[in-house]
Symmetry: D2
Amino acid sequence: MKHLFNFHSFPFPAFLLSATGIFALLPSCYGQITDPKATEVWEPEPRVVTPGQGTKPPSDAIILFQGMNFSEWQSVKDSGDVKWYRNSDSSTTVLPGAGDIVTKRAFGDCQLHIEFRTPPVVKGEGQGRGNSGIFLQDRYEVQVLDNYQNRTYSNGQAGSIYKQSIPLVNACRKPGEWQSYDILYTAPRFNADGVLITPAHITVIQNGIVVQLNTEIKGTTEYIGLPKNKSHGKAPIRLQDHGDLVSYRNIWIREL
Amino acid sequence: MKHLFNFHSFPFPAFLLSATGIFALLPSCYGQITDPKATEVWEPEPRVVTPGQGTKPPSDAIILFQGMNFSEWQSVKDSGDVKWYRNSDSSTTVLPGAGDIVTKRAFGDCQLHIEFRTPPVVKGEGQGRGNSGIFLQDRYEVQVLDNYQNRTYSNGQAGSIYKQSIPLVNACRKPGEWQSYDILYTAPRFNADGVLITPAHITVIQNGIVVQLNTEIKGTTEYIGLPKNKSHGKAPIRLQDHGDLVSYRNIWIREL
Amino acid sequence: MKHLFNFHSFPFPAFLLSATGIFALLPSCYGQITDPKATEVWEPEPRVVTPGQGTKPPSDAIILFQGMNFSEWQSVKDSGDVKWYRNSDSSTTVLPGAGDIVTKRAFGDCQLHIEFRTPPVVKGEGQGRGNSGIFLQDRYEVQVLDNYQNRTYSNGQAGSIYKQSIPLVNACRKPGEWQSYDILYTAPRFNADGVLITPAHITVIQNGIVVQLNTEIKGTTEYIGLPKNKSHGKAPIRLQDHGDLVSYRNIWIREL
Amino acid sequence: MKHLFNFHSFPFPAFLLSATGIFALLPSCYGQITDPKATEVWEPEPRVVTPGQGTKPPSDAIILFQGMNFSEWQSVKDSGDVKWYRNSDSSTTVLPGAGDIVTKRAFGDCQLHIEFRTPPVVKGEGQGRGNSGIFLQDRYEVQVLDNYQNRTYSNGQAGSIYKQSIPLVNACRKPGEWQSYDILYTAPRFNADGVLITPAHITVIQNGIVVQLNTEIKGTTEYIGLPKNKSHGKAPIRLQDHGDLVSYRNIWIREL
C-alpha cells in the first residue's frame, strides 16, 4: 500500500480508507499525474505588451530614433549633439566625418530593432561599399554593409558579427532599399577577477531571415587583431560613421 | 631576436636580415597582428537568399501553406487529404473534428514562419478560447491561444512552450487580428542508448516581440503529466485541431 | 595590388615598393595569416593555482569542511552552531532532527567538491535509504541517496537534479564507501522584473563519472510541485538532514 | 466547480459528488500538485556503471591505453604500429620523430580521462618545454605543455583550447609529476550544406581544477591562422608528437 499514497500527507477518514474499493476512488495522481491541472503554472503572469504595427514599436519599447529626434543620442567625439543628416522621411544619414553616435542610456540584455539603407548610388567595393555598423554595448559589432552582389570577406559581410561569425546566409536587399535587423542579445558575465564566465550571445534576423543563431560572441569585434575580453557593465548602443552614406530609421529597443 | 620571428618559417635573404633597421620594415604581424587582413575569413561564402516582402517568403523557403494549397499536408487521422476550411482570403481554418494536420515532409533544425488568427467572435474562456497549437517535430508545442484579456495558466498562454516555459511577455493581438510567430528551432540530440545529450532549443518571436529566447525544451509538451524524452529523428510540423475556429495562413519554413 | 596590402597602414619606403620581387619579401600575413605569432594572445595571464593532492584542496579553494571544523557553517533552524556528529575520521554525520546546515558565506558561480558516504548499515528503501542533499544557492538540490541496488524514481536518484534531471548513469558506490561529487555551477540571471533570462547550469561528476552535463536547472527543486523561479542573488550551500545517517567530509569550493 | 476538476476525466459515482463536503476528500492535485509522487519520473532507469578506483576506470569505459598495450592505436604517418616508448611503469613516452598517434576507433560526444607528465628534466622555454597535445575528433586540441613557471601566450598554455580559449587558471603541476585531464566533450553539428549549426563544447578539469567550462570550440585549433569549420563525423582521438618527451598513461574514454 505504501506505493499508493502516503498516509501522513493524505488524512482520509478511517471509515473511508477501510471501505472496499476506496482506492478506485483515488485520482491517479497518486503514483502518476492524471489531472492536466497538475502541470499548470499560474505565476508569474507575463505582463502585457501591445505589439507594434508598421512603424509603431511594441508598447514597452524605448524609441531610440524615429522622426528626426536625436534626444536619445550623442556624438562620440565630443559627447555633444548629433550632427548626422536629418532626412525628410524621418530617417538619418551618416554625415561622413561627424563620427560615431551613441545612445545616452546604457543597455545590457535587449531586443533591438533597427532599419538601415545602404546608399542607392553604388560606390566603392568590398568593405568600401555602404559600410557602417551597430555596436551592442559599445563594443560588439553587427556589420552593416552593402553586400548585394558585392563580395568581401565572409566574416565581414552584412549580418556578420564583425570578424568573428560568418552569417548563415547572405540576406541583403538591393542598395537603396530599406532593410531590417532584429537582434536578440544577452550580455556577457565576468567574475570578480574580470574573467569571462558566460559569453554574450546574439541572434540576428536580417530582413526576416536568421543570419546569426544564438551565436557566442568571442569578445570585442576588432578591425585589427583578435577579440578582447575585459569586464564591463551596461553600455550604450553605437552606430558607426564609416564614411559612407548609410541611413537609419525606426530604431527601438526593449530591455529583456 | 627570438621573440621577433621564427627563422624557419620566414626565409629572408641573409643580407636583408643583417641590414641595419631591417626590423623596422617587418610588418608587425610578427609578434602581433597589425594588418586587418589577417583576421579576414573568406570561406565559406554564405549563399545568397532573396529576402521576402509582404507575403512573399524568402527565396530558399519551402512554402508549406499559401493560397489554399494543401499539397504539403495530410490529415493525422487517416493520412488522407486535409479537410480543414479553405477560405477565400488564402487562409485555412480548423474544421473542428477533422483532427490535426501534419506536413508530409519531416524537419529538424529550422526557421518557421506562421501566421494565425483566433476567432473574431469570442467564445469560451481560459484554454477554451481560440485554442490550437504548432508542434515542432510532431511533439513540441508552441501554444496558439486567444490570450487577449483572457487569463489562463501562464505556462499555457500563447507563446508558451506548452506547460514548460512561460512566455517572457503577453504579446497577443486582439481576437480576429492576424498574428505571427517567427520560430528558430534546433532539434535535440540523443545518444546511442536513446539518452538526451543536447536538448532542443527554441526562440519564438510573436508579432515582432521575443517571447521565448533560446529556451531549452524539456521534452514532449504533455497535456497531462511531465515531459517525455524518447529518441527521434526528423519529424513533421503539426497543426492542432483543438475544436476552435483558429485560422492559419502564410506558412513557410527554412531548413537550417 | 590593392588586394595585397593597404598602403595607408603600411608605409614602406617607395624604393622598396618599386623594387622587383619586393612582394616575395612580404610575409604572407598580408592577405592571410602565415605567422603563428599572429594568433597568440598573451593577456590576461591566468593566475596560478596549486592543484590539490589527496585530501588537500587546490590553493585557491575555500575549505568549507575538513577536520571537524564547522566555523564556515551554521544551523538553519536557529542560525546557531551546527549540532551534527563530529567523527574521529574528520567527517561529520547528519544528526537526525538537528536540521539542515548552511554555509555562512553566500556563493554564485562555483566549483564545489564534496565527499559523502551513505550509511554502511542499510536501512529502508527507495528514498528512505541514505537520503540527504546538497543545495546550490540554498535552493537547487543535487540529490544524495544510496542508490546501490536500490531503485527509486529516476529523477530522484543520486546524481539527479532533484525531480528535474535524471542522471546520465547510476554511478553509486556501495553503502559505507566514500563517494565524491565534483560540481561546476553557473548561477541563473534574472532581469529587473525578476524574470529568468539565463537559467543556471550544472555539471556533476560522481565518482569520476559525468552524471549531469551542463544541465539547465529549471528552477527550485521541489519535493511537491513544479520548479519555481524567483529572482535571487548569491546564497549559501546547504546540506540536508533528511533523517538518515549520511556523512560528509572534505568539502571545498572555488568561486569562479 | 469547473475549476476544481473535470468530470470527463474523473468518473466519481453521482452519490459521492452530490454529498456535502466531498471536495474536502479530493486530494489537492486537483488545481495544484500536493502529492510528491506526481513529479516522480521512473523511466528511463539510468544504467549502472561501476565507478573506477585508483587506476581502474569506470566499468563502461573503453580503455585506450593502460599497461603498454597499443592495440587501440596506430601511427598517423603510416597507419602502422605505434613506435612511441613503452615504459616499465605502464606509461608511454613520445618518441620524437615517430609522429602523432591516433585511436583506431572514432568518437563523438565523450568523457575522456588522460594522464600526462611533462619531462622531469626541464629543457627549452615557452612552447618549447614539454609540448604535446590531445586532439578531440582529430582536430580540436587541448594543449599539453609544461607551464610550471614557464610563461607562454595565454591561449597556448596547458589547459587551453589551443589558440582559442585561455584556461581559467594555470593549474599545472611541476615537471615530472603526473597530471590529469578530465574532459567532457560534445561534438559539433553541421547542416546539409556543411554549415556549423551547433558548435562543439568542452569542459576540461586539470588536476581537479576546472580550466575550461563548457567552452564553445570555434573550429579547428590551427597553429597558423584562424579556426576552420568543415563538416565532419566521428573521428579519432589524437596524441601529438611535438618533439618533446611527454609521457601518457591511464587513458580511457566513455561514449556519451
